[in-house]
Symmetry: C2
Subunit: 404 residues, 2 copies
């Protein structure tokens, strides 16, 4: 096989993760082994910086520096939310050509895969030989074909550990607690809250994902049931939950609260789903201690909460992208295939199989309206890596003397 000699560029798209830099470092360090990949550039701010020729030469980053960056959350060369159209992609292609770039690596989700697909088409049409490889990344875990996505495991670990702590905190001072987790269309991340349960009465007692229609009445009934049973209730909820008509719950809830209010409900006009749900519980169930947190950016960026499995896999998809590009005349997206219990194999899949559309949680992972199944636990457990353990006191009750 004739080797393709030229420069390489890597870029990042979409929301960063705790391990996205591992993929970059895996790619760059791997490429240093190959003399036909002559230089390795990094585009600032994804394809946005690329068209402005804002690039750094990663061939001149030291290995230690790269290793340190690999352990660092966030997008080390910045990211972008831009979804390029054909015209924009032609500009990407022009910059690559001008700089003698023959290897294009894009770490991102389905939008980044789509960018890869268009750039790849341009290169082929122009007869410019260029390897275009998409490296998967997303905390939402919603890419097609691949078993799971680098970035998910670490975010899922954060969510699990957050709910473990929140469960213990709520057990200390009981009440109703709503934790809002990222995920507009896919519930994988919210579902990971299930790993917070150790004993039968541990929370989250209810888990709501966007894949199942949410009903306020059923929600209230379930919270009431849990609160009666346990004296407290912890609820994990995806930010993207929708009603039966596919309308975001937050929109409907705020309206409903306003209509019911007669001017005296604290939460009218509230902007957050957590506030809306706690407002509903306070108003309808007359429970006093009702709290909510939105986990926000912490769940994808917190320094010091990384799944070692996720970190290794993120590193490997970066390495594999470079290996495939260097030794095979093939373009595509790197996917993870699960083999055995638990192992993985990295494959190459056509870009159009991953681009544009996303996937949701399969039915067998969801139990009823507000729980997940053992199948989900078996699926997700190895991805989170090692999770710290906790325990409660096991000691006999003291017999009463004054009021036996």
């Amino acid at each position: 096989m004739e080797k393709l000699t030229g420069k390489a560029i890597i870029a990042m798209g979409g929301g960063p993760t705790a391990v996205i830099n591992q993929s970059l470092v895996g790619a760059v360090l791997q490429a240093r082994q190959y003399s036909h990949i002559t230089q390795f550039y990094g585009a600032f701010r994804g394809v946005e910086g690329l068209v402005e020729e804002q690039m750094v030469n990663l061939s001149e980053a030291t290995s230690h520096n790269l290793e340190m960056v690999g352990k660092t959350p966030g997008a080390g060369i910045r990211s972008t939310r831009l979804k390029p159209d054909e015209e924009f992609c032609s500009r990407i292609f022009k910059v690559c050509k001008a700089h003698g770039i023959h290897y294009f690596f894009y770490i991102g989700g389905n939008d980044s895969a789509e960018t890869c697909r268009i750039v790849n088409t341009f290169a082929r049409e122009e007869g410019y030989e260029m390897r275009v490889l998409h490296i998967p990344k997303t905390i939402d875990n919603d890419l097609r074909v691949t078993d799971h996505c680098p970035g998910y495991g670490s975010a899922a670990k954060f969510v699990a550990q957050a709910f473990m702590g929140v469960n213990l905190d709520n057990r200390s001072l009981p009440g109703v607690y709503v934790g809002v987790v990222m995920g507009r269309h896919a519930g994988f991340l919210t579902a990971a809250s299930v790993f917070a349960r150790k004993y039968d009465d541990d929370g989250p007692h209810l888990i709501y994902v966007p894949e199942k229609p949410f009903s306020s009445d059923e929600f209230l009934a379930s919270v009431d049931e849990m609160y009666t049973k346990y004296g407290r209730a912890i609820i994990a909820v995806s930010e993207g939950i929708q009603d039966e008509h596919g309308k975001p719950v937050i929109a409907g809830l705020v309206k409903e609260i306003e209509r019911d209010a007669h001017g005296n409900i604290q939460l009218s006009g509230s902007t957050s789903l957590g506030d809306a749900l706690t407002g509903l519980v306070r108003e309808k169930l007359k429970i006093k201690r009702v709290r909510s947190d939105t986990f926000g950016y912490l769940q994808r960026s917190f320094l010091g909460c990384v799944s070692e499995v996720d970190a290794h896999e993120a590193r490997e998809v970066g390495e594999r992208a470079v290996q495939i590009a260097a030794w095979h005349s093939a373009d595509g997206s790197i996917t993870i295939e699960r083999v055995g219990d638990y192992g993985v194999r990295y494959n190459l899949t056509p870009l159009q199989e991953v681009a544009k559309e996303t996937k949701s949680m399969p039915d067998e992972f969801i139990q009823g309206a507000n729980n997940v199944t053992t199948e989900f636990k078996n699926y997700a457990r190895p991805l989170l890596g090692e999770i710290p353990v906790y325990d409660r006191i096991h000691a006999p009750r003291v017999e009463k003397i004054l009021n036996p």
Copy 2:
């Protein structure tokens, strides 16, 4: 010295921390060495459960179970928000007497110290010999006399690591970010965000604590300055910030936004400080990407973010309380004295010195309206224990070809 023979009880008051259980475990395991402490009870839900005689016999908890609980955040025997009055304290005393309890340990903040003080007075007045020891705990770090409070270091570590991650995330996709941290009157916890700064342009770029009056106009000017300078701005803010009249900022801000709105501002009626501040920035500075997170319960409960220094000290204050009670005929609150760089000595201080009133950040820890000093960093650094490190890529820019 005559040894006081009898049972002991331990209770927890106020908001839990990541290491409050270490104090319980330190006390219980230490007491097992002493035959004159005949049994060690734990009160459920602080003094609330105590008056209902809801207690467990911790003498029958296994050592391994206790060690595991020590590593567990949250209040292992539950907590309470109740601030007992004289009548309630007399009931506490009655239960202790009925059960032959001669050692009373209460882990908590200034309110728990006040409970100890009243119970102690009752015991003395009734001529019932009872050692009453307050074991310090609070993430707010606002107890008097003691150099710092167990629970603070771990929460501070969480805040630091959260801002480290948020800084990296915001550097990936720039904008304005407001992180709201616990602390109604004392800014110690918010101030710990300073440890997220590694390079000169790292956030948080502005730190607001309740000790300094907050002005919306000056805030906007500072955000504008940082945004112009860095292309982004990260702000750490205490939930309790107040205006120059001592009024909570949240109250004033929401009003102001409503008044300015003419019905078209998204955030009128918002209930959170973070939403109010980001609304202000969006409205007045016309910046598009403005985000906010309220760290909420995660900062005091997250499983897997514990300062090892904090954990050891929490353990030791529990041990020291039992040692002093067992060998000295003295009551009081355990305090931490800082010696050398960095060591501690545990002392006993009268209960009334710690009860009721709290303390704020001293002036020398605060720099101007929105920063903290090197003195604060020197003070707080040893308390956080080891913090993970991160780095950014150091690589030369690539020269432009198309648009040089």
